[in-house]
C-alpha cells in the first residue's frame, strides 16, 4: 500500500503538507517535524507535491509500518 513517509532529517516543520492534506492525516509534532497518521493516509501524494524541502514522499509501505 502506498503511504506518505516523512524523512525527518530534511523536514523543516513548515506545515505546508499538513495544510494541504485532504484527510487531515498530517500534523506537526511539537514544531519539530511532520507526522503522518498512516491509518488516515491514502497515499494521494498531495503533500509530496507541496513539500518545499522534499522530505515527504509517497512510498510503498508494508503492513504493520
Amino acid at each position: 500500500m502506498k503511504k506518505a513517509v516523512n524523512y525527518l532529517d530534511r523536514c523543516v516543520a513548515c506545515g505546508v503538507c499538513a495544510g494541504q492534506c485532504p484527510r487531515e492525516a498530517i500534523s506537526i509534532y511539537k514544531g519539530c517535524y511532520a507526522v503522518v497518521d498512516v491509518s488516515k493516509c491514502v497515499g494521494c501524494g498531495i503533500c509530496e507535491k507541496a513539500c518545499p524541502a522534499g522530505s515527504i514522499r509517497v512510498e510503498e509501505v508494508h503492513d504493520g509500518r
Binding site: R10, V12, A13, C14, G15, V16, A18, G19, P22, R23, E24, I28, K30, G31, C32, K49, A50, C51, P52, A53, G54, S55
Partner: protein
C-alpha cells in the same frame, strides 16, 4: 473529507504581507509593524513549543502559495537538496542575524549622532534605492526612521528572495531556509528534548 476545508481568518494573512509593503512605500515608519512577524513566531516557539505561526499564520508563506499555486507563478520543481540542508539553513540564519545586527548598529549610529539619517532602501544588502518620499519627518527621533528603512530593506529583500525561489522551485521553497523557520524549529527541538 468531502469538499473544501473551512477557512479561518488567519488563512487570509497573505493580504497583510501586501498591505505591509504598501504602507511602507508611503510611510516608512510602518516598517516597525514587521516586528510582529519577528516576535510572534518566537513567542509561539518559546512559550508554546510549536510552529503554529509558520503552520497557520505566516502571511509571507501564504502569499507564496497564492502566487505560486493559485496564480501559477511557480515551476513547482523540487529545489536542489542543499537549499534545505542543515549547513545552508543555519548558515543563512547566521548571515541573516549578522545583517540584522548591522542594521541595529546603523540605527545606533544615528541615535548617537555619529551618522545622519539615510532615506534609502538597500536591496540584497547591496543595491541602494532612493526612498525619500516615505519619510518627511515625524514626532519620533531620526533613529526610529533609520531602523524603519533598515528593517523594511530586510523584509523586502527576503520577500524578493522568496519570490525568486518560488518561481524557480516549489511554491514555499523560502520556508525550507527561512531564518525565522530555522530559529523556531531549533527552539522547538531544544524544548522538546529538555522537556521530557
Amino acid at each position: 473529507m468531502a469538499g473544501k476545508k473551512k477557512k479561518h481568518w488567519y488563512d487570509y494573512l497573505w493580504i497583510w504581507t501586501i498591505i505591509y509593503f504598501v504602507l511602507g512605500f508611503f510611510n516608512i515608519l510602518f516598517a516597525w509593524l514587521g516586528m510582529i512577524d519577528f516576535i510572534l513566531p518566537l513567542i509561539f516557539a518559546i512559550v508554546g513549543g510549536n510552529k503554529w505561526f509558520c503552520n497557520h499564520m505566516c502571511g509571507r508563506g501564504q502569499l507564496f502559495w497564492v502566487l505560486g499555486r493559485n496564480m501559477k507563478c511557480s515551476r513547482r520543481k523540487q529545489a536542489p537538496k542543499w537549499i534545505s540542508s542543515k549547513w545552508f539553513r543555519y548558515g543563512f540564519l547566521t548571515f541573516f542575524l549578522t545583517m540584522f545586527g548591522t542594521m541595529v548598529f546603523q540605527t545606533y549610529l544615528v541615535f548617537s549622532g555619529a551618522e545622519s539619517l539615510r532615506k534609502a532602501i538597500k536591496l540584497f544588502w547591496t543595491f541602494k534605492v532612493p526612498w525619500q518620499w516615505a519619510y518627511n519627518g515625524s514626532i519620533f527621533p531620526d533613529w526610529v526612521a533609520q531602523f524603519s528603512f533598515g528593517f523594511y530593506s530586510l523584509m523586502l529583500t527576503s520577500t524578493l528572495i522568496g519570490l525568486i525561489v518560488m518561481a524557480l522551485y516549489k511554491e514555499r521553497t523560502w520556508c525550507s531556509f527561512c531564518p525565522m523557520g530555522t530559529m523556531t524549529q531549533g527552539i522547538c527541538k531544544i524544548k522538546n528534548r529538555s522537556g521530557k
